[in-house]
């Protein structure tokens, strides 16, 4: 039984990249992140602050420079096999059709091909791509590719979801639909989610907690805001509620100063 253990714990994790020329770049200074079982945590921060870096650590794609990641109580060594990772970049296999891209994760787990394809088709239908199963990635738009990638991750029903700006290239309406889909699926079998986004509205609407990271280099977590909005939530209506606005103003203040730092502006707003 894993119920009581947190899904993800990053304990004093720091990341120092070795640069090609022999230099070092301290991307993230030691941070502690805890994502409880079934908890939806959004991570916000200015560009380049180390959000993707943290997800890579949680996914086990690279070891932290110090500290450790602990998944359901076990120290992570190597890949995090209970996590699904929706990458920020394009990561579909270009030689597989959308359907095959989605089905492959099930096939390699031992599901019969026919069943895997059926599951892939129904997941593609959920992300609004029922008619696009036969397309190859290069025949899809940026937003369509993102949704195929989303289906690819979701269809495997991983216990932990790592999502790096999953709705980045989508228009506002599709974003809403995809957010609702994600919330529905999440509501059904409460996974732990680490959700990176640039959109504060989205972060508040979806998550239980919003983490704010400071501008890099050596960024850290400078804000941890619980989002006590009741569930299930209606994302479209949520934005009209006073509590939503209160949270928004609160978090935005913390975030704004950090975004300004990234561009060398002081918090008073004058150019440096």
């Amino acid at each position: 039984m894993t119920g009581a253990l947190p899904a993800v714990q990053l304990n004093g994790v720091s990341v120092v990249y070795a640069l090609a020329g022999g230099g070092r770049y301290e991307a993230v200074q030691p941070v502690d992140v805890r994502v409880a079982e079934g908890e939806f945590v959004a991570i916000l921060g200015p560009t380049g602050c180390g959000k993707s870096t943290l997800l890579n650590i949680a996914a086990g794609l690279m070891p932290p420079s110090s500290g450790e990641s602990v998944i359901y109580g076990e120290k992570l060594a190597g890949l995090n096999s209970v996590a699904g990772y929706l990458f920020q970049q394009d990561a579909l296999m270009p030689w597989k059709s959308a359907r095959d891209n989605v089905a492959i994760g099930l096939e390699v787990a031992g599901m019969a091909r026919a069943n895997a394809l059926a599951a892939a088709d129904s997941m593609l239908a959920k992300v609004g791509l029922a008619a696009f199963g036969d397309r190859y990635p290069h025949q899809l738009s940026g937003g369509q590719k993102k949704r195929v990638a989303l289906a690819q991750v979701l269809v495997r029903r991983p216990k932990i979801l790592l999502m790096d700006e999953p709705f980045g290239p989508l228009d506002a309406q599709t974003r809403l639909i995809m957010s609702e889909l994600l919330l529905d699926l999440w509501q059904a079998d409460r996974k732990a989610v680490m959700f990176v986004t640039h959109d504060l509205d989205e972060a508040i609407a979806l998550s239980d907690r919003v983490l704010i990271m400071s501008a890099g280099p050596a960024s850290r977590i400078i804000g941890d805001f619980p989002i006590p909005l009741p569930r299930p939530r209606n994302i479209a209506e949520l934005r009209g509620e006073p509590e939503f606005h209160r949270l928004h103003a609160l978090i935005w203040n913390a975030l704004r100063d950090e975004v300004r730092k990234t561009y060398g502006l002081t918090s008073a707003g004058s150019a440096a």
Partner: protein, 267 residues
Amino acid sequence: MSRVKLLSLQVLVALVALGLWHIGSTIPFGTGANGKPFYLLPQFFFSTPGAVIGRVFTMFADGSVYAHLWITLVETVLAFTIGASLGILIGFWFARKPLVAAVFDPYVKMMNALPRVVLAPIFALWFGLGIWSKVWLGVTLVFFIVFFNVYQGVREVPQVVLQNARMLGMSERHLLRHVYWPAALSWVFSSLHTSVGFAVVGAVVGEYLGSSKGLGYLIHQAEGVFDVTGVFAGMVILMIFVMAIDFLVTLIEKPLLVWRPGETKTV
């Protein structure tokens, strides 16, 4: 430009070239120093288009060419198959084992820098004057092209595609089959025209330098007796042969590369 227009321009180029050849070789330009008629393209060196085409037709009509075509085809197919298989195997091996690649790197470069023609006599010595000396000459040409392409293809799979595949639960064996293999294969196919072309080169050069059958032998034999018409006829047949093979390659690769971002078509 419409297809018809393009095609007629292409035919026009051929007609002009043949026409110039015909004029130069059959119509005298005044008289030479020795009192004989002067030709821009003397028939002894250039033959005439009519004679060459006629010879090609007779060679096909009397059936004398088929045995040679067949031998060259067999050598080409064997050279390609063996060369490509070795190239794929070793390319994979090197790409997955950086240490092996690093150790062998200078030797691979040295071997590839060697002009392959110089191997022909040695191969004739080792493998005899039959088809195998030609096949192995072709193999040394095909191998390096396929090898380098597979090596690149496997190494240049985008990091994030690989990471994604791993996160989807793929083992090394799955990666080989679903990621490395298709990536490498696409590079092999993108170089298919070149490598098949080199298989032909290996076969023909080998035949040219020592054999008793094949298109290269035909040309060599005609040269030996100053039969320029025969040389040109052999070249024409060789060109037809290469174009036919190239066409087949195009037919084969099309359905295999549908996933590649090619030319975007709208209607």
